[in-house]
């Protein structure tokens, strides 16, 4: 008898909570802060998400986008930490770099990544391939290591591609590698073909989609792959040696892991610290349902070219918890992302 009454009470509470949740978002408007300019790929992806997300939030609130570009995601993140009201009506998708900027204690960071509430991310998997142009004659790892002054291209100091390039050069022990920045992603490919650059890292999917001839016609020598998360093999490039296999010291492995940890969190959706748990849970559930929605998965694939690789809120929180390496690794990582000469292993 007591069991039945308890179950009934629990059921009532559950229904009431759901009803309360339902009535909260009904007729409301959620603001999605995008850490990007209006127009552009990130804006488009955000709109695609919000279109599906609203259907999965009980009450189907309106979701509108507000733009807060600038400072590599710091502006949007600062806003969410200091200004946004924690009422469950404001969420954000800052550019993914905002996490690592906090770990490195870069200037302009006024937020604590441990205090945000994470809802999930769509892109927790990435594979970076380090390749060089065939004419450079660096057809195997020995030749690569023996060469001096290899010109490695990237967009800008601190950019993800730059960091991956530096990690490969460091792990491989390349002699006097020269990092040439100031290219857009597309210009990098042109520069490689022209012979202005010798090597670059690139996302495996971009490599295959935008420049298939690099792989299919053998225009490039592929040297290694960085998997994020570790152990997640790329279906096509599983034969390539993983960057960690080049590392000859704990420090080297440490910075590689630090990069991996920063990458697997993807570009997360966040809520301000202090958002009431019930509302945060509703939104987490809605994000989870959106990621599992086949229609969204198809649209994502069409717009981004990659399969959706969702990361749950818990996985993000775990990764961020692990993103507190010791100060020696942080100092070394800072050298990786900075412009100075590479240290030796």
């Amino acid at each position: 008898m007591i069991t039945i009454v308890s179950a009934a009470i629990l059921l009532l509470i559950f229904v009431a909570e759901a009803a309360i949740g339902q009535s909260f978002y009904e007729g409301k408007t959620i603001t999605m802060i995008a850490g990007t300019e209006p127009g552009g790929t990130l804006d488009m992806r955000t709109r695609a998400l919000t279109h599906f997300l609203k259907k999965h939030i009980p009450g189907e609130p309106t979701i509108i986008t507000e733009y807060m570009p600038g400072a590599g995601g710091r502006k949007a993140a600062n806003f969410m930490y200091r200004v946004a009201r924690p009422d469950g009506l404001t969420m954000a998708t800052p550019v993914s770099g905002f996490l690592i900027l906090a770990v490195l204690k870069e200037p302009g960071v006024d937020y604590d990544i441990g205090k945000f509430i994470y809802l999930g991310a769509p892109d927790g998997v990435a594979h970076y391939i380090f390749h060089s142009r065939k004419e450079a004659g660096l057809s195997d790892l020995d030749k690569l290591r023996a060469a001096s002054g290899v010109r490695i291209g990237a967009q800008a100091v601190g950019h993800t591609i730059y960091v991956v390039g530096r990690l490969f050069a460091y792990a491989l022990g390349l002699k006097d590698a020269r990092f040439v920045t100031g290219y857009s992603g597309v210009e990098l490919d042109g520069a490689l073909v022209r012979g202005e650059l010798d090597a670059r890292p690139n996302l495996a999917e971009t490599l295959v989609r935008r420049t298939p001839e690099f792989v299919e016609k053998g225009l490039m020598d592929l040297h290694g792959i960085l998997e994020a998360p570790a152990g997640k093999k790329h279906p096509r490039f599983s034969y390539l040696p993983e960057i960690a296999s080049f590392a000859r010291s704990e420090r080297a492995r440490g910075v590689i892991e630090m990069f991996r940890a920063s990458r697997v969190t993807g570009g997360p959706y966040i809520l301000p610290p202090g958002t009431p748990k019930e509302r945060a849970d509703i939104l987490k559930e809605a994000v989870r349902k959106t990621f599992n929605d086949p229609a969204y998965q198809t649209e994502y694939k069409k717009l981004v070219g990659d399969d959706l690789a969702p990361v749950t809120a818990d996985e993000i929180e775990k990764a961020i918890g692990a993103l507190r390496p010791d100060s020696e690794i942080i100092e070394l990582y800072k050298k990786m992302v900075g412009p100075g000469p590479l240290p030796s292993q």
């Binding site: 603001t31 309106t62 509108i64 507000e66 733009y67 200004v83």
Partner: protein, 156 residues
């Protein structure tokens, strides 16, 4: 007044050279060696020319084209000064309004007040103009495109 404005460029180039002096060469070449220092030299030449009335004498007859429009406004100085200050006051007031009240409220308000007070338009004309402005800012962007303008400081 004209020399004062040249001094503005002098100050800018001085600050540029001074701020950039300590940077590594790769960061320094363009701002300091290509822009600030040559700019400084050019400003000194220009100040000399203004001080000695060089350009007045030559009459600007260096050939070439008048490449930027020169205003052909013909007003007495006092009226021109007054109207210029009034204009900038409205503009700055509008900007301040956007900061404090948000663009959705501030721009229609600016349009309404400008038309009414400065332009001495009738009430209903000013109101219609403000309404059209609101329709553009809120109706197009926020309602149709679902792209929210930031609220003003007072409503943030």
């Amino acid at each position: 007044m004209r020399a004062n404005f040249t001094l503005f460029f002098l100050a800018v180039f001085l600050v540029g050279a001074w701020a950039g002096w300590g940077w590594p060469n790769i960061a320094k070449i363009m701002p300091v060696y290509v822009a600030a220092i040559p700019g400084l030299l050019l400003v000194l030449v220009q100040l000399y020319r203004e001080a000695t009335g060089w350009e007045g004498r030559r009459g600007g007859a260096g050939g070439g084209i008048e490449m930027d429009e020169v205003t052909d406004v013909k007003l007495d100085r006092k009226t021109e000064f007054r109207r210029t200050v009034t204009y900038f006051s409205w503009f700055i007031g509008g900007a301040l309004g956007i900061w404090l009240l948000g663009i959705v409220i501030a721009l229609p308000l600016l349009v309404f007040l400008y038309a009414l007070i400065e332009g001495k338009e009738k009430w209903h004309t000013s109101l219609i103009m403000a309404a059209c402005t609101y329709l553009l800012i809120w109706g197009l962007f926020e309602y149709m495109l679902e792209s929210r303008w930031p609220p003003g400081l007072l409503f943030g």
